[in-house]
Amino acid sequence: MALTEPLDFARLNAEINEEVRRRRAAGDFPPGLERELDSLFARYAPATTGADFDEVVERAERTSFMHADVPTASNQRVLVYVKRGLRSLMAWYVRFLAQQVTAFAGAITRSVRLLGHRVDRLETVTIVAAERSLSEVKQRRAGADLSQWSAVVTNAMAGVTGRVLHAECGEGELLAHLVADGRDAYGVEPSEPLAMAAARAGLDVRADDLLAHLRAVPDGALAGAVLSGAVDCLPLGSLLELADLVTAKTGPGAVVVVLSVGPGAWARALDPIVSDLAPGRPLHPETWCHLLATRGWDPALVHPTANPTQALAPVPAGTPGAEVINANVERLNRLLYSSPAYAVTARRA
């Protein structure tokens, strides 16, 4: 690099990202490192910067008491006496106000506390149950086989420049295809063993919860996203949030691919324990198309072809009733032998 040569910052940044991938693979940057550093610092950040309800309410309770005795310190001695005099004169007035404000703040914080208890009880049977079952699912989760979608995903992402996220990427087979195809791709995987395996393969993978990760990504920072795994077991509210987040975090021209086992295959495509305990079910492909279209995407649906070795053969044309028979054969093939798994690819205007 001669001094007169302008610096190629894009190349430099790409090389730095590559170096991070190498270091991850070597174990110098373990998958959980960033999250660990974040949560360590979060311990010392004010409660109001965090999301812990109890800490925030505690802080509100601590600050709800209004002091009636105003400070009288001053650099000038005479002012100390003036302030003390004023404090004595105004005490009846300030105390009257302080008592009312303290009573009001106390009532408000108590109300919030009671509301919190009610929400706690509700969460026990709804959200917390969902979180607990998700955690069970995470422990059972094995990397899904997404090999049938390699061509669909790499074709959809062809020409995409910028960061591409694959969530949840498992051990990273599909991610490796994207990287080999020249995409600046990284993965998010909630299962630490799977993320470690992907990192050992030299891939840039964060061991993180998908929604938590997406919430932290700056708006418009992604050029593409492949969504798999989580789309088959997140509760409905989280799936809607996922659709919102992926829209907010991608820019114009971005591409998204949703890979799902489909609701029809729910019971037979997944580990029975996972399919029983997962708090949510896969959506129909039409629903993903609808969710994406209403958020400004232009979706297209891709179904894999039926397995030809198992499919029923049509009768030769010219056979009496061939048209009706073959229509029924096609219907039976679709119902019995085609994989209900699907991909929805979509591009933003």
């Binding site: 001094l3 910052f9 730095i16 490192l33 550093l37 610092f41 311990r43 950040a45 409660a47 920072a221």
Partner: protein, 371 residues
């Protein structure tokens, strides 16, 4: 004779806005323009010749021709209200007001003050003739608030004056640590405030030590602007077991600061908000390679003189610093670009820019400014 008097909430020594104000006064005097400095508070050690708002009160200011007041906006202050009520023509020099939401949690009263400052800035738009901004980033904010005539004039800093009066003892102490333990010296200079993101520098430094250089040291220089944030940083450093290698040096003398710049190997800034970022230029003046998070006015100030990162995960920052420190050709190229970038902010150029804007202001005088 034209008069342009400068008004600011606090006039402090060794402060970027304070120095800028003094340079503006010098440039105005050189053009024969009457100019005084009027401040809400004058801190001990600030340059002589300033008067307080209290002293002026409602009195008439010197100048027998068109007269303007140039208000330096950087926070909420009662001085802005005094400025708004004065009969003279109004000019604003906007140095950016930090986003209040970052402070809200750490220092609620500062957040309130900043929010107040933003409201005041918006209210002044209608009565201001011209508004100056340190950067196009700041100018965009002014335009968004409805300021009609705006211009960019960089902070007036004497870049040629960087690098004087080094404290030899501090240099010796820092060099001894380097010789004894080896390892690179990271430097970040900024007031300890949450939006300056010292915690992100510490995270990146922890990742760097883990993967590349277990002997490295991090020097964080700057006065404590938020005690809560500073305490959190200290506890964070303790938890990471980095107390021996991360130094929160606080506010240091000019000689000490010079020593830190001379001994450092890399300057790392991961600040979330900068209206200009003078320390980046100081680092460039000391031939230090700069790695910085690209946000707000940072890309504009740093130009190609810094390795700018679009995002700041600790691992990426650590790898970027490692690259800068181990790739000698890259380091030299960054230093050379930094020198070039620095020349764009050389005092004579910025004064010429200010002078041109002053010409425009005077030319646009339509009798509206007070005589």
């Amino acid at each position: 004779m034209v008069a342009i008097h400068q008004v600011l909430p606090v006039f402090a020594p060794r402060d970027a806005i304070g120095n800028h104000t003094v340079e503006i006064r010098r440039a105005l005097h050189a053009r024969g323009i009457t100019s005084e400095i009027i401040a809400g508070e004058i801190n001990p050690g600030a340059a002589q010749g300033a008067r307080t708002v209290r002293e002026i009160g409602r009195r008439r200011l010197p100048g027998d021709g068109p007269t303007w007041l140039l208000y330096h906006a950087s926070t909420g202050s009662p001085v802005a209200e005094w400025f708004a009520e004065r009969p003279e023509g109004k000019l604003i020099d906007y140095h950016n007001i930090s986003p209040p939401d970052v402070f809200g949690a750490w220092e609620p009263h500062v957040g309130v003050e900043l929010e107040h400052g933003r409201r005041q800035l918006a209210e002044l738009a209608d009565i201001t003739d011209w508004a100056l901004a340190d950067s196009t980033f700041n100018q965009r904010e002014l335009n968004g608030l409805g300021y009609r005539r705006t211009a960019v004039v960089p902070i007036l800093i004497d870049t040629a004056a960087f690098g004087h009066d080094v404290d030899a003892k501090t240099v010796t102490r820092l060099r001894r640590a380097k010789q004894t333990d080896g390892g690179a010296d990271w430097l970040f200079v900024s007031r300890i405030l949450p939006h300056k993101a010292h915690h992100d520098v510490i995270k990146a430094f922890a990742a760097y030590r883990r993967a590349y250089d277990p002997s490295a040291r991090l020097h964080l220089i700057g006065a404590v602007g938020s005690a809560r944030y500073a305490d959190a940083l200290t506890d964070f450093v303790d938890d990471l077991d980095l107390s021996d290698s991360v130094v929160l040096a606080g506010s240091v003398s000019a000689g000490d600061l010079e020593a830190y710049f001379q001994v450092a190997d890399v300057y790392v800034s991961l600040s979330d908000h900068e209206g200009f970022a003078v320390p980046l230029l100081e680092a460039m003046a000391h031939d230090l390679p700069v790695v910085a998070y690209s946000c707000a006015a940072v890309p504009e100030t740093a130009g190609t003189g810094a390795l700018l990162l679009d995002d700041k995960p600790p691992t990426v920052v650590a790898a970027a610093v490692h690259r800068v420190l181990t790739d000698e050709r890259l380091r030299r190229a960054l230093v050379a670009s930094g020198r070039e970038q620095l020349s764009a902010f050389a005092l004579p150029r910025s004064v010429a820019r200010l002078s041109a804007v002053i010409d425009d202001i005077i030319a646009s005088f339509d009798g509206g400014a007070s005589k």
